[in-house]
């Protein structure tokens, strides 16, 4: 029997076990697709549009094909010209992108073709030799301009509106009439870049004798990538193998097949089956992957004299860029998220996702919730201010509660929102600090404190009719265990968490587990890493697979010893009688029995989980989208220099209802990473375009959070033990990012009285706000 590894981590759920893949990462041995080099591998490059909007009149690739060292050139004529998209199930009309465009290009960077050559220089030279005749069309890059009649039409849709999402409940107009106070605000949340450090990269290989393809891709959703490849290449799903290796971050940008994935396979076919690797440059990563939707918000809310929200109406306009991507989902999540947070009976908000001739907006950590988090949570503070109520007190009057059904039929079961608010406010000293300008005042420095709250789903059925996850737990003869999961660990640590769940449920030490994830030929199906779904959904599948394996083992143990199987369990490496707590047999001995002369029974446990949800009615916004909901409260303390406008975040407290922490260290790491990302988004992450051309597509001009200036962070875990979650766990990868910008903006107002309603918050905006405030104060004799 196996004595190779230590067995220190029995009952691993709830323990901060080391990352299952950590050793490879600290030694440099972990393999990313970025690192792959196969024999005779060719270098692929994408041919991109230099125009923001143009009709393609002709493409001549003959000179490129004749260049020595070029092995293949592909354009739309080599394809079936089948469109792909990401919300095919609910929004078939948003399936609008071609793997290689044939008649029109819609942004600078749009893919027209690709080349494969023996080296990078030759591939780049070949791109220059491709002769394309364009008819340049008028373009529109501003989302509000794009909606005006007469604006250049990017697709067939009216006024460039690709998606309209009306969400309507009750009678807001009547409720406004009965309100004590009604207030309206406008906000803008900027477009940001995901910026995973490993860029998009893939290696495609066509096996000509069997007509199969293998694609190694840095993907968050290998099965979704497979689906799009099979569709656009007219192949069966089992002819397409998508493999993810270690993935160097994704944050939503790696959820979809990109034209590069498609092109690398097609180039390989044309090059006689040689593998073709395409690696994005950093500039391509900024321009031609996905970005966060910039969003304009109009919000109007009514409240009673006591501070109860009566109604809310509004409008969200999202800059979608050239194609739809995950646009409908982002819009839906941006609008409908509010029902998880606040009790509202009367609500009307319409979302518009609008095409522009700019890079494609897609899903980014939070699916629109970050933008709406900024708008809604800023608006809530302004309402509280009008009512002369403390912002925390105001929120506590209006938040959702456990075991309630929202107006749009979301079923909130466990709900730790109040506990999160209570714990965060207690930890930060809210009562002493908030609104107390005397507690800290040094020279030009003013301190302030602000809150934001949020809620999140654990997955949602969007790109297909189900969102099933599958797992297999295979126990080998020596008692070592394989976990096969379709879930794609992109760095968040899902392989570790799922292995903990598998080990705990099977009753063995964590060290016995080896995890293989996200290989469409080997692992069961999984929709991918998005919407904070993996711990909850893939975790439940894994729990079921481990329980199934355990039942198979116990059946044999019971049969051999004439024990009642219902008395047996495996706990911490021992077969145990649950009635007497007697330890009956070692796990290894039980496995010897399973694989013995007489039984010879292979232990292969399987599990599949599809959460019990209802489809969303996209005409109204009604539907229970998630099997569970997570909640959170965040408080930021800031220092504002009223002379320079500089803001320093001193500390952020984050209290998060995560159901149950499978791995507390990983939970903290996810929260801390979200907070840093939120700080970057609040103060400087902002993609800038001029005439459709990105002007800050590098790390020198697009700043990311770095080690200097990171504030202190305090994580408070609230465990509500959700009955539907594996060991009570909920997903939690996205929620901590949602309220950060608003918590900071609210703290800034507390510090210096300036309200910033458009991101990013810059020193210039603060100085401008201070000047305006001073002149108003002066006029008012203040």
């Amino acid at each position: 029997m196996s004595t190779q590894t230590a067995r220190n981590y029995t009952n691993p759920v709830g323990r901060s076990v080391p990352r299952i893949d950590g050793l490879g990462m600290v030694t440099g041995q972990a393999k990313y697709v970025f690192d792959i080099s196969l024999g005779n591998m060719l270098v692929g490059k994408m041919l991109r549009s230099p125009h923001p909007h143009a009709r393609i009149l002709s493409i001549d690739t003959s000179k490129a094909e004749a260049l020595p060292g070029v092995r293949a050139v592909v354009t739309a004529k080599d394809t079936y010209q089948i469109k792909f998209g990401s919300n095919e199930y609910f929004f078939p009309h948003t399936v609008d992108q071609m793997a290689l465009e044939s008649d029109k290009v819609r942004y600078i960077g749009d893919e027209i073709g690709a080349v494969a050559a023996v080296d990078e220089e030759t591939a780049e030279e070949a791109l220059k030799l491709i002769d394309i005749k364009y008819e340049v069309l008028p373009h529109v890059t501003d989302v509000l301009e794009a909606m005006k009649p007469g604006a250049p039409q990017i697709h067939e849709s009216m006024n460039n509106i690709g998606v309209i999402l009306p969400v309507n409940f009750g009678n807001p107009e009547r409720a406004f009439k009965d309100s004590f106070l009604v207030r309206e605000d406008q906000f803008y949340a900027s477009a940001a870049a995901h910026s995973p450090l490993e860029p998009h990269v893939c290696v495609g290989q066509w096996e000509s004798f069997s007509n199969k393809i293998t694609l190694w891709s840095s993907s968050q959703a290998p099965f979704k990538c497979r689906e799009a490849l099979a569709k656009t290449l007219k192949m069966d799903l089992n002819d397409v193998r998508v493999i993810k290796l270690a993935v160097g971050g994704g944050f939503g940008s790696k959820l979809e097949m990109l034209p590069m994935d498609f092109a690398s396979c097609l180039l390989s076919k044309k090059a006689g089956g040689l593998p073709v690797k395409i690696t994005y440059s950093r500039e391509e990563e900024f321009m031609c992957s996905r970005r966060k939707h910039g969003m304009h918000y109009k919000i109007k809310s009514g409240v009673t004299k006591e501070g109860i929200l009566t109604a809310m109406t509004g409008e969200v306009i999202a800059d979608g860029g050239a194609y739809c991507s995950y646009g409908p989902t982002v819009l839906a999540a941006a609008i409908m998220r509010i029902f998880m947070v606040y009790k509202l009976q009367h609500f009307r908000m319409t979302g518009y996702r609008v095409y522009t001739n700019t890079p494609i907006s897609g899903a980014m950590r939070g699916f629109g919730g970050v933008q709406s988090g900024f708008a809604i949570e800023s608006h809530m503070d302004l309402l509280a201010h009008d009512l002369k109520l403390d912002p925390v007190e105001f929120r506590l009057k209006n938040i959702t509660t456990p075991n309630m059904v929202t107006v749009n039929k979301m079923i909130l079961t466990t709900n730790g929102l109040k506990e999160c608010i209570d714990k965060a406010t207690a930890a930060c000293g809210w009562k002493e600090k908030r609104g107390n300008s005397n507690y800290w005042k040094k020279g030009n420095i003013r301190r302030g404190i602000g809150i934001g709250i949020a809620a999140d789903v654990m997955g949602s059925k969007m790109y297909k009719s189900h969102e099933s996850a599958g797992s297999i737990v295979k126990v080998e003869e020596d008692g070592s265990v394989y976990l096969f999961t379709g879930a794609a660990d992109t760095g968040q640590g899902s392989n570790t968490a799922l292995s903990q769940i598998a080990a705990h449920a099977l009753g063995v030490a964590y060290e016995r587990i080896k995890c293989k994830s996200g290989d469409t030929e080997i692992t069961p199906f999984d929709t991918g890493s998005f919407a904070s779904r993996v711990t909850f959904i893939s975790g439940n599948a894994t729990l079921r697979a481990a329980n199934d394996a355990k039942a198979q083992i116990l059946e044999i143990v019971a049969d051999k010893n004439k024990w009642d199987v219902s008395d047996l369990d495996i706990v911490a490496e021992k077969v145990t009688n649950v009635k007497t707590n007697a330890e009956l047999m070692n796990f290894d001995t039980a496995l010897e029995l399973c694989y013995s002369f007489h039984y010879g029974r292979q232990i292969i446990g399987r599990g599949s989980y599809n959460p019990k949800t209802t489809p969303i009615d996209f005409r109204t916004g009604e539907g229970n989208v998630s099997g569970s909901y997570g909640f959170e409260a965040q408080i930021a303390e800031v220092e504002v220099n009223v002379e320079t406008g500089d803001v320093k975040v001193i500390k952020i407290w984050d209290a998060h209802d995560i159901g149950k922490a499978i791995n507390p260290q990983s939970v903290e790491a996810q929260i801390e990473g979200s907070l840093a990302m939120g700080i970057g988004y609040t103060f400087y992450e902002d993609l800038q375009f001029r005439n459709g051309r990105l002007v800050n597509g590098n790390f020198a001009n697009y700043r990311l959070p770095r080690s200097i200036g990171v504030p202190e962070m305090e994580t408070i875990m609230v465990e509500t033990n959700d009955p539907e979650g594996p060991f009570g766990a909920k997903g939690m990868g996205e929620a901590s990012l949602l309220p950060t910008s608003a918590a900071i903006a609210n703290a800034i107002e507390d510090a210096c009285g300036v309200r910033i309603k458009d991101l990013p918050i810059t020193p210039a905006k603060i100085i401008k706000g201070l000047k305006e405030k001073n002149s108003v104060d002066h006029v008012n004799g203040g």
Binding site: S16, P18, R19, D21, G22, L23, G24, M25, V26, T27, G28, Q29, A30, K31, Y32, F34, D35, S37, S195, P196, L197, E198, P199, A246, V247, G248, G249, F251, S281, R282, T490, G491, Q492, G493, Q665, S666, E668, A669, I671, E672, G673, S674, L675, A676, M677, N698, F699, A700, L704, P705, R706, S707, I708, G709, V710, E712, M713
Partner: protein, 170 residues
């Protein structure tokens, strides 16, 4: 042929002259532990150590470092025994996607060799060239502090051993 001393091994490489150390490590020698995220000296992901200093391999010409002592992430562990910085990154949960980690470890190692007890400010300055997109940095800071304590402890132990070997301590 250019002779490069990498991780205490001599590699003979045929250089055209313009290759960066990063290209040589990854493409010619298969030492893919060193990553890059920008290739223009902005992200710190490609950090290696040259003569004990943290250096960006993406802007270092390989021909310029002939004869220098080059250490990449692959050269840190001794057999199965991890370097204290590697061990600490693992234990403190400082690793998420892992892509920035080799560069961060090389920057941290260089700092701790100079100063095993850095202040928070010194840690922040030493690591400011290394972008990590997953973590919010606190666990990375914790890992560096922890590794510093281990290194300091070992230095003290070495002092004790060498002192007793010289018969000075009894």
């Amino acid at each position: 042929m250019t002779k490069l001393l990498i991780n205490s091994k001599i590699y003979e490489v045929d250089l055209k002259g313009h290759e960066t150390l990063l290209e040589v490590l990854r493409d010619k020698l298969g030492l893919t532990g060193t990553k890059t995220a920008c290739e223009e000296s902005e992200c710190g992901t490609c950090t290696v150590n040259i003569n004990g200093k943290a250096v960006l391999s993406c802007i270092t010409l390989a021909s310029d470092v002939e004869g220098d002592e080059i250490t990449s992430i692959e050269g840190l562990a001794k057999g199965d025994e991890l370097h204290p910085v590697q061990q600490s990154f693992l234990e403190c949960g400082a690793v998420q996607c892992g892509f920035c980690i080799p560069g961060l470890i090389m920057s941290a190692k260089c700092l701790l060799e100079r100063n095993p007890e850095p202040s928070q400010e010194e840690i922040e300055y030493a690591l400011d060239g290394n972008i990590c997109r997953c973590a919010g940095y606190p666990k990375i800071f914790e890992a560096v502090r922890h590794a510093g304590r281990v290194i300091k402890g070992r230095q003290n132990k070495n002092v004790y051993v060498s002192a007793s070997a010289n018969g000075l301590r009894h």
